[in-house]
């Protein structure tokens, strides 16, 4: 892969407002059924404006008159439009709709036809297992521990799709120990390493942010969070260890541009739609020491209340995954945590700087670093 270099931004930009809908299946909720993607987006956008104290300035935001920009994402992943009918009428998505669709993230020239894309879920954790000599049972324990802590965080998150803690699920199936439940046939493997609990569930959801030049950011309601830089890299799924390579490259770029080092990062959010990414990406960006991260997971140190927190919203597997909107929901969570507004799931290390490892699509990686702006008065 040929590496890239990020230029300095001409102007500093900060996030001043955030909004997000719950990640959920609207078809399961009589109060939400019938909402459209436009309304979901609009709700997140209005929340972001209210959050910034911009209720009266909707037109200004839209026109850009004050150099304020709203950006957002919406995805309705639990349903599909019905051809010929308006958008509030949707049909439930079925496994038969999803399985052929999984190929949609693969290159059509080669990867689909040459059978090179199906390795993605397991490839990185397989490499990790080999490199550090873990047994299959240890890998399973590490992944189940991540599921467990993700579930704990999501249980405290009103926006999360799965708010039932694993303790309760376990009890319903006759287990006293949630870890025993997680390694039982109630939670079967869907790939060589991943169990059901290690795969993200599709969700309906939207999230928005409002940004403005940092020099203007202090006049709004919230503590501004500056976007220091965004690393970017992409490689196709056929490329060996593509997720590892693009994570390494995007992280290298953003560290180089910002002059920060892994020691500066207090909080990491990782797109973990396949759960092992949480651990593997955290080591690749230097947030956890190489080869040691799996032990830290087992000690609970990467849980929302640990000293190296990862995905305090619960992660894709517990928070839900509204595909195209999940990355923005990560930004929403990171900003809440940096402001100290995350309530009962607030991380304990008083974070100033957060890194987000976005990943997906075809395969793209984006790694922003966000930092709270010290108050200047």
């Amino acid at each position: 892969m040929v590496s890239g270099k990020l230029g300095r931004y001409a102007r500093s930009v900060s996030i001043i407002g955030i909004g997000a809908t719950p990640f959920c299946d609207i078809g399961n909720d009589p109060e939400l059924t019938g909402l459209t993607e436009g309304e979901f987006f609009g709700h997140a956008a209005l929340m972001a404006m209210a959050d910034a104290g911009l209720e009266e300035a909707v037109k200004d935001v839209a026109s850009g008159a004050h150099e304020i920009v709203l950006s957002g994402c919406v995805e309705m992943a639990c349903g599909l439009p019905i051809p010929g009918q308006p958008t509030h009428l949707r049909r439930r998505i079925k496994t038969e709709d999803i399985i052929p669709d999984l190929e949609g993230i693969m290159d059509r020239a080669y990867t689909r036809a040459l059978g090179g894309g199906h390795i993605g879920q397991d490839d990185w954790i397989d490499l990790y297992r080999k490199e550090y000599g873990l047994t299959d049972e240890q890998v399973d324990l590490v992944l189940n521990t991540m599921s467990y802590h993700g579930g704990r965080a999501a249980a405290l998150n009103p926006l999360a799709m799965f708010q039932t803690p694993y303790e309760e699920e376990a009890k319903e199936c006759g287990f006293d120990d949630p870890m025993e439940y997680l390694r039982s046939s109630y939670n079967p493997k869907t790939t060589q390493y991943l169990r059901v609990s290690g795969n993200a569930s599709g969700a309906d959801g939207a999230a928005c942010v409002i940004v403005c030049p940092t020099e203007m950011a202090h006049q709004f309601k919230q503590k501004p969070v500056e976007v220091l830089g965004i690393g970017a890299s992409c490689l196709e799924l056929m490329w060996p260890h593509n997720e590892m390579e693009i994570t390494r490259e995007a992280a290298r770029q953003v560290y180089e541009m910002t002059g920060l080092t892994p020691e500066d990062i207090d909080l990491l959010l990782v797109n973990d739609f396949v759960l092992p990414s949480q651990l593997c990406a955290a080591e690749e960006v230097g947030y956890l020491p190489r080869g040691e991260g799996w032990k830290m997971v087992l000690e609970g140190r990467t849980a929302f209340d640990g000293d190296r927190p990862i995905n305090p919203h619960g992660g894709r597997t517990s928070y839900g995954h509204a595909f195209g909107a999940s990355g923005m929901a990560d930004v929403y969570e990171a900003v809440l945590q940096l402001r100290g507004q995350a309530g009962p799931r607030q991380v304990k290390n008083n974070p100033k700087t957060a890194m987000l490892r976005g990943f997906g699509g075809g395969q793209n990686c984006r790694i922003p670093i966000l930092r709270t702006v010290e108050v200047r008065r």
């Binding site: 059978g115 390795i119 869907t190 790939t191 060589q192 056929m238 490329w239």
Partner: protein
């Protein structure tokens, strides 16, 4: 600069059971599957080169409910893995001749030699790989 049909030429090669890549005129690295430019050094000029189809398998991932490709079953047992061609390129692909119950034992023997397996699909020929020694996958 003339527009070149790289993808079509590659599949025309497969139809004749020829494996084609592109060699970089600057650094000599081989781009497989072939694309316009070199992903090793970034140079834009590359030329066609026929590859032997011989290589080594470096990893074994067994297919399961989420990532199985039912179409493959008509050919035989298969896994997913990382293949390195003897000319250098490495890529993920599907490798035949390996039963799932043999995966664990085979992992201890990696890397193992494999070769190209040309397969007819509807409207085109594709290329997978298979073990040189069928015994170790049975």
């Amino acid at each position: 600069m003339k527009i070149e049909k790289v993808v079509e030429t590659f599949y025309e090669g497969l139809a004749e059971h020829k494996l084609l890549g592109r060699r970089c005129k600057e650094c000599g690295a081989i781009e497989y599957p072939p694309r316009y430019a070199c992903n090793t050094c970034g140079y834009h000029e590359t030329e066609w080169v026929e590859l032997s189809g011989k290589g080594k398998l470096h990893s074994v991932i067994t297919p399961s409910t989420l990532n199985a490709d039912p179409w493959n079953d008509q050919i035989g047992p298969y896994v997913y893995g990382l293949v390195e061609l003897e000319e250098g390129p490495m890529f993920n692909c599907t490798v035949f001749g390996i039963k799932r119950k043999m995966a664990k034992k085979l992992r201890d023997q990696l890397p193992v030699p494999v070769h190209a397996l040309y397969v007819e699909r509807e409207g085109f020929t594709t290329v997978f790989f298979e073990l040189d020694d069928p015994e170790i996958g049975k």
